[in-house]
């Protein structure tokens, strides 16, 4: 049997080159540089650097504040992902059932998607301002002395609300299209078997939405971990003080604000490893239980 081969040509490599160059230039090179500088303590201006071995890593993980930030990041990621997904799913199910003016309704919900995270953060600052914030006044009306920027968990609550609000529309769009791709015949068959709407939802609709839900879970975890940077930055007003921040924001604080390049590189390498592990776990463990149609 004759093997089919193609003549060696530089042509395919040329076609690949732009993509490869971009990946190497903007991902592999900076990542390698981060790993290298995580083993040094470097003068900010680049005049001298001292090899310190794993000291930067040891300093980071033994630091009380680093652990507090890590704990908050886990809490924040879980809460933001859960509420973004749950609220979006509820809205999508309800929007799917709307017959009249469905498009207006959908457009209004999707609208928020167009807002950039820093703008969302800015809106958050206005809404939660200590002196003129509308939501602060609302909270006070209900007897909650909301003080964003003063009390740790008040700031955490405000950040979470803004982050969830910003993410719901993205999830909504995906859930809605997921719902609409469920065959009508399946739904009608379910209607015969089960009269309860919530029963039908959990037994039929929800499992069929699982592929969408799994995809969104990854997207949401990544969002809460990284894309909320702009919201965290604006809501802490450049003075983190005793306010909650996420791990990626701490990398920025130590590296770009504090000019501690070695320490912040070590933190970003830790973050890289965490994300890598998380992705592997997600695909290995969760994907097995998800049925793609």
């Amino acid at each position: 049997m004759k093997r089919v081969t193609f003549g060696h040509s530089i042509y395919p490599y040329l076609l690949l080159a732009p993509q490869l160059i971009i990946v190497i230039l903007f991902f592999y090179w900076p990542a390698a540089e981060a790993i290298r500088s995580s083993f040094f303590l470097e003068d900010p201006f680049g005049f001298g650097s001292t090899w310190v071995g794993a000291d930067n890593y040891v300093d980071a993980v033994t630091d009380r504040e680093y652990r507090r930030v890590a704990n908050f990041t886990v809490w924040f990621t879980v809460v933001v992902s859960f509420f973004s997904l749950a609220i979006a799913l509820l809205l999508a199910v309800k929007a799917d059932a709307v017959l009249r003016g469905a498009n207006t309704y959908k457009t209004l919900i999707m609208w928020v998607y167009a807002i950039a995270p820093p703008v969302a953060g800015l809106l958050g600052i206005f809404l939660f301002d200590q002196h003129v914030g509308v939501l602060t006044e609302l909270a006070q009306f209900f007897g909650w002395d909301l003080r964003v920027g003063v009390n740790y968990w008040d700031t955490a609550a405000a950040m979470t609300i803004v982050s969830v609000w910003k993410q719901v529309p993205v999830n909504f769009i995906f859930f809605l299209s997921g719902l609409q791709s469920i065959p009508r015949s399946v739904r009608e068959a379910a209607l015969i078997d089960n009269r309860s709407a919530s029963g039908r939802f959990w037994d039929v609709t929800f499992p069929l939405l699982a592929p969408t839900g799994f995809f969104l879970l990854i997207i949401n975890i990544t969002y809460a971990l990284f894309d909320t940077f702009g919201i965290v930055d604006l809501m802490t007003k450049n003075e983190p003080a005793n306010n909650p921040v996420t791990l990626v924001y701490k990398v920025y604080l130590d590296g770009f604000r504090g000019n501690d390049l070695g320490g912040s590189s070590a933190q970003s390498v830790i973050l890289m490893i965490l994300v890598l592990a998380l992705t592997v776990v997600q695909f290995r463990m969760i994907e097995r239980k998800v049925h793609y149609t």
Binding site: P44, H131, V150, K237, N238, A241, N242, D254, D260
Partner: protein, 435 residues
């Protein structure tokens, strides 16, 4: 046809303008009203001569400006002049060869340098261990107490000179319906300048000036801790309020008339004059008479806050000459007086201070003199300044721990213990980067 003619005309005029001009760039962190005045000074400077064209560029906050300058320096694309704030002084001065010391710049490229031209309070903060001035203390400020004149009259009290007096008058202000006091920067006002106002040692190695090796913070002292205990008690009794670490959140209630006295920067003067619709005045930052004793009536002088201008190295001689020319212009009495009058930053030369006095500026607005009066108070062993690496992060640690004190998550003792521990770890790390 018309378009290409127009283009040619623009090209011609621009080449005519830039002919033989040396262009220099100046990165600064002056936003709002301060930025407007910087642009005005740059425009005036460019109009005053033909050889140099100065371009001021606003780079964001002090921290962002320093980081942008470092990144640019590492890429070999640094500006000629960069404004670096007090907390970043150690970073730039300890980097050998990042800057041309202003004293060398002026002697080599300008018309000489005499440190005695500068007012005594600003001479040595940005100096190297041999007292050579490295950064030009362009915008020097002092933390001072602003008060709402009507509010104090309503309560029938005078602005306090000491914290002991504050404790007496504060309840009266509270009864008159005001929150007696707020402040905008706990590390700067209630830590660094608390040490200076009471002539207390802030760090070993002569407040850090004598080298980075082995420098340790000395904030864990009784006077400072007693002050924070007082603040907590005053806050519980409604005599003091803290609105978080953001500067503006604490200034706003003063501008709204809710807070009667506010501790801010002497450079807040220009902005306040524009925004508030009530009469306000100022007095120096209060001190504890019991801590200072009888040696220094009125307390000791404060550190200069604000920032300095640094001439970055690696530039051609003709550009350094242009920078020297601009620095001379900037230090001239007229320009300093304009800067002082418009912003509230202190005049940094004796000539400018004399000009402000002879022009009657302080008779018209007595509040404008508070900052410079405070910087000219009695000097002590520990009032020259401080020099500590990774100090931006040390300030962040202070802000975090102070936040914990006020939210009840930590006691005063616990918080200062942590500040000292984490601060010293950061100083130790910085010492390693320098070797």
């Amino acid at each position: 046809m018309i378009r290409s003619l127009a283009a040619a005309a623009v090209l011609l005029s621009s080449t005519a303008l830039s002919y033989a001009e040396t262009e220099i760039e100046f990165w600064h962190a002056m936003g709002g009203r301060l930025g407007e005045v910087v642009n005005e000074i740059a425009t005036n400077f460019n109009a005053s001569q033909d050889e140099v064209k100065l371009t001021p560029v606003f780079k964001g906050s002090y921290e962002e400006t320093l980081t942008a300058g470092i990144a640019a320096f590492r890429a070999g694309d640094q500006p000629n002049i960069i404004q670096v704030f007090d907390a970043g002084a150690a970073t730039i001065i300890n980097a050998p060869g990042a800057v041309v010391p202003v004293e060398d710049l002026m002697s080599n490229f300008g018309s000489g340098f005499n440190i005695d031209d500068y007012i005594s309070g600003v001479r040595y903060f940005y100096a190297d261990p041999s007292d050579k001035m490295v950064g030009m203390p362009f915008n020097s400020s002092a933390p001072i107490l602003y008060y709402n004149v009507e509010a104090l009259e309503k309560a029938g009290v005078e602005a306090p000179a000491t914290w002991e007096e504050f404790a007496e008058i504060a309840p009266k202000l509270k009864d008159a319906g005001f929150i007696p006091m707020a402040q905008s920067h706990l590390p700067w006002i209630f830590t660094e300048n608390f040490m200076s106002r009471h002539n207390l040692q802030f760090a070993t190695n002569a407040n850090g000036y004598e080298g980075v090796e082995g420098t340790e913070l000395l904030v864990n002292n009784d006077a400072l801790k007693a002050h924070f205990s007082n603040l907590v008690e005053w806050r519980e009794n409604g005599l003091f309020e803290w609105y978080g670490a953001a500067w503006g959140d604490n200034q706003k209630p003063f501008e709204n008339g809710d807070v009667a006295m506010w501790l801010g920067s002497s450079a807040s003067f220009g902005g306040l004059a524009q925004t508030v619709d009530f009469e306000f005045s100022s007095v120096p930052l209060p001190y504890y008479a019991s801590v200072v004793g009888d040696d220094a009536p009125g307390g000791y002088q404060s550190f200069i806050g604000g920032a300095a201008l640094f001439a970055m190295s690696g530039k051609a001689d003709e550009q350094n000459e242009a920078v020297a020319q601009f620095f001379e212009y900037l230090a001239s009495a007229d320009v300093q007086y304009l800067w002082h009058k418009e912003t509230g930053y202190v005049p940094i030369t004796n000539a400018a201070y004399d000009l402000a006095k002879s022009d009657g500026h302080y008779e018209r607005t007595p509040a404008a003199e508070t900052g410079i009066t405070q910087l000219n108070l009695r000097a002590g062993d520990w009032t020259k300044g401080y020099r500590m690496g990774f100090y931006v992060q040390i300030r962040d640690v202070m802000n975090r721990e102070y936040g914990k004190i006020f939210s009840g998550e930590a006691t005063v003792d616990e918080a200062f213990q942590v500040i000292e521990e984490e601060g010293n770890q950061l100083l130790e790390r910085f010492a390693k980067t320098a070797s």
